[in-house]
């Protein structure tokens, strides 16, 4: 019983760690999609920045420089996306797809050229990574029943970027719904001509949105390779960008519901990891593959309008073309 409780608490703890890149990417997607730009390139940006961050950290020994590198590269990809979708009014889905495929290829190609380790970066040691921050009294708290366990296992012992991710939700909520920039951002995703005729710049706003998305994806990628993991390996984003996209849709393009969706999806993943190959009394061996598919499945069900209704920003995916 006690072990079961501990298991549960630990799964929640793992949920936070697993959900961190999802949260960051979902917030990134929120900025981009609220401004009317579909962003399926979350995956590629995250992958590319994971690579850049790990390379930078390996070469300089500093995780902070790694973070800077990760963000920089991710923003660069965002700018490509913006150039294609905003400046040249290209198809946003195609552009995103191109970036994802490009990132898959480029990371390995550059990785081999830089480190000659089959596309991986060298193993990062502790000083080259963001390591866990143990909060004060965590050890002592262990002896306090329930709350102590929660404090020690769930709240304490996360690295900086986990906190950054949670904080990003608050910031996103504030910026998008409580500032004038957010008002314009949402307006430009709903009805760009309204912003244009009100004297705002549609392109400017959309570029700002994709750049913010780039920064957040950059942090997510950095988390993967230099905080949660210890180095880059090929395809390390492993579909997390798409799960984040699903979470964003599931959260109906709102920060807190999107956060909850990320946590739910993260929980499924954490749970699935723990159940892999484990015989459960009565039920037997659960197929974890089927647990892992739940996020996608639920999103399809949601989109089909069977549970609530998710209506995207009205002008999403439509380039703003004034003169034909």
């Amino acid at each position: 019983m006690a072990d079961l409780w501990l298991q549960f608490v630990l799964t929640i703890d793992a949920t936070l760690r697993v959900a961190t890149p999802l949260i960051l990417c979902a917030m990134a997607g929120l900025f981009s999609e609220r401004s009317g730009i579909i962003d399926i390139s979350l995956e590629g940006k995250m992958l590319m920045s994971a690579f850049a961050a790990a390379s930078m950290a390996a070469l300089t020994g500093s995780p902070l420089l790694g973070l800077a590198g990760g963000i920089l590269v991710s923003v660069a990809l965002s700018l490509i996306h913006g150039f294609a979708c905003v400046t040249h009014k290209g198809n946003q889905v195609i552009s995103g797809l191109a970036i994802n495929i490009l990132a898959s290829g480029l990371t390995v190609t550059l990785g081999i050229a830089l480190f000659a380790q089959g596309g991986q970066t060298p193993f990062l040691n502790k000083s080259e990574r963001f390591t866990d921050i143990v909060l004060p009294f965590a050890e002592q708290a262990e002896h306090v029943p329930v709350l102590g366990t929660i404090y020690k296992e769930i709240i304490s012992g996360h690295n900086l970027l986990v906190w950054v991710a949670l904080f990003s939700v608050i910031v996103t909520g504030y910026v998008v719904f409580r500032t004038t920039f957010g008002l314009r951002l949402r307006a430009v995703g709903e009805k760009p001509e309204a912003v244009d005729s009100a004297g705002g710049s549609v392109s400017g706003l959309r570029f700002q949105a994709v750049i913010i998305a780039g920064v957040l994806c950059g942090i997510a990628g950095t988390y993967l390779s230099t905080a949660h993991g210890a180095g880059f390996i090929r395809e390390m984003a492993a579909g997390k960008g798409y799960i984040a996209l699903a979470a964003l849709i599931f959260g109906k393009w709102r920060p807190v519901p999107a956060l909850l969706a990320c946590l739910m999806f993260g929980f499924m993943e954490a749970l699935a990891a723990r159940l892999q190959g484990v015989e459960i009394p009565v039920i037997g061996n659960i197929s974890t593959d089927l647990i892992l598919v739940l996020p996608y499945f639920l999103t399809v069900i949601l989109l089909a309008g069977f549970i609530g209704k998710a209506s995207p920003p009205r002008s999403i995916g439509v380039p703003y073309i004034k003169e034909r």
């Binding site: 294609a84 191109a98 970036i99 290829g105 480029l106 996209l245 593959d289 598919v293 499945f297």
Partner: protein
């Protein structure tokens, strides 16, 4: 200033070539950055794709995959549906082949099993296409998102089955048992050798012919039948289609079924052509490459064959790069593919303003004279 004010040869000939050149130039710069000579690399690739013994066979083998997935994307595109679920549809198509063969190969004669497996690939792929089609047509969910999700769902189903009930006993890889002897599509080199030609071995098989037939079929369907007309009409204007007395929802589902069936038939080449068992990830991203193929081929079967050939050469030549260079792997091909999608898809009209300017300045003197 738009595409329709330019002559066709510029729109469907010059611009795609310029886009391709741009993509290859960027790729060349990256190759140079990592310290290899892009021209040497290009030479190796071309040799690897066409010159070596059997290379052409491999190139055409990959081309076959791309024709199927490219056609799948193109058919949907004619109804303005962006089907990026080709990957999942191909997987499920392969599952269809596998199920039919595994159930029947001990009961029916091989030839009959093969003949049944072909429609099974199409039917399973069609089902995996028609569900997102239904969701779009009747429930209003966005086809792009649902097809992405369906790729993941398909992939999980495959893992679940191949690492579970379909896994061959005693096997340690997630794959089915091998099909019974004789259950495969005829290999082209074998047929040619029987006919007395000396051809080197390659996995090129009858699927290539099926793919070419599918090209003709798609062309005929889209431009020579009433259904094709209605499909194109739906793509351009749903309201006009309703006005003309057709149900766009039905058309959308039908188109997605056709699209899924084409993608599903890609599995014929891999599963029934060479692997002779269902393995995990046999689609290897060919479904996504189909998008690039369709974009480059401007959704026309002839364009698709040409673009497929390009990508087939890229894949086969890319494998050769892998052997020749320490620093270059197959991922280089993926990178080039990403660049091609970027330039010929998202930035398709990057060069148009310049081309229009040059074209009109060239035309003016002759026009007024």
């Amino acid at each position: 200033m738009n595409a329709s004010s330019l002559p066709r040869w510029i729109d469907i000939g010059l611009l795609p070539v310029l886009n391709l050149i741009a993509a290859l130039t960027v790729a060349g710069v990256i190759i140079a950055i990592i310290g290899e000579n892009p021209f040497v690399a290009m030479g190796v690739m071309i040799k690897g794709a066409f010159v070596y013994d059997g290379a052409l066979g491999y190139t055409l083998f990959y081309t076959t995959n791309f024709i199927f997935t490219g056609l799948a994307v193109a058919v949907a595109f004619h109804a303005m549906l962006f089907n990026i679920g080709g990957e999942g549809q191909a997987m499920i198509g392969g599952l269809g082949v596998g199920l039919v063969v595994l159930f029947l190969d001990s009961v029916l004669p091989p030839l009959l099993v093969v003949i049944l497996a072909v429609p099974a690939a199409a039917a399973f792929g069609a089902v995996w296409g028609v569900i997102p089609g239904w969701l779009q047509a009747r429930r209003g969910s966005h086809i792009v998102i649902t097809t992405i999700m369906f790729n993941f769902i398909a992939s999980s189903i495959m893992v679940w089955l191949l690492a579970g009930m379909l896994m061959a006993p005693g096997q340690m890889s997630p794959e089915t048992r091998s099909f019974a002897d004789g259950i495969n599509l005829p290999l082209v080199y074998e047929v040619l050798q029987m006919a007395g030609f000396s051809v080197s071995r390659s996995p090129l098989n009858l699927s290539f012919v099926i793919a070419l037939l599918a090209c003709f079929g798609v062309w005929y369907l889209i431009w020579r039948t009433k259904l094709g007309y209605i499909i194109r009409a739906t793509g351009h204007s749903e309201r006009a289609t309703i006005y003309a007395g057709h149900d766009p929802a039905k058309i959308i589902m039908l188109v997605m079924a056709i699209s899924g069936a084409l993608a599903g038939m890609m599995s014929l080449n891999e599963i029934l052509g060479v692997q002779q068992r269902v393995i995990l990830n046999f689609t290897s991203g060919y479904g996504f490459t189909g998008i690039a193929v369709a974009l480059m081929g401007r959704n026309h079967p002839i364009g698709i064959v040409l673009a497929s050939l390009l990508f087939g050469a890229l894949y086969q030549g890319g494998a050769e790069l892998d052997f020749e260079f320490q620093t270059i792997t197959r991922e280089m091909v993926l990178m080039i593919q990403g660049l091609i999608i970027l330039f010929s898809g998202a930035l398709a009209y990057l060069f148009m303003p310049a081309v229009v300017r040059i074209y009109s300045s060239l035309r003016k003197p002759t026009g007024s004279g």
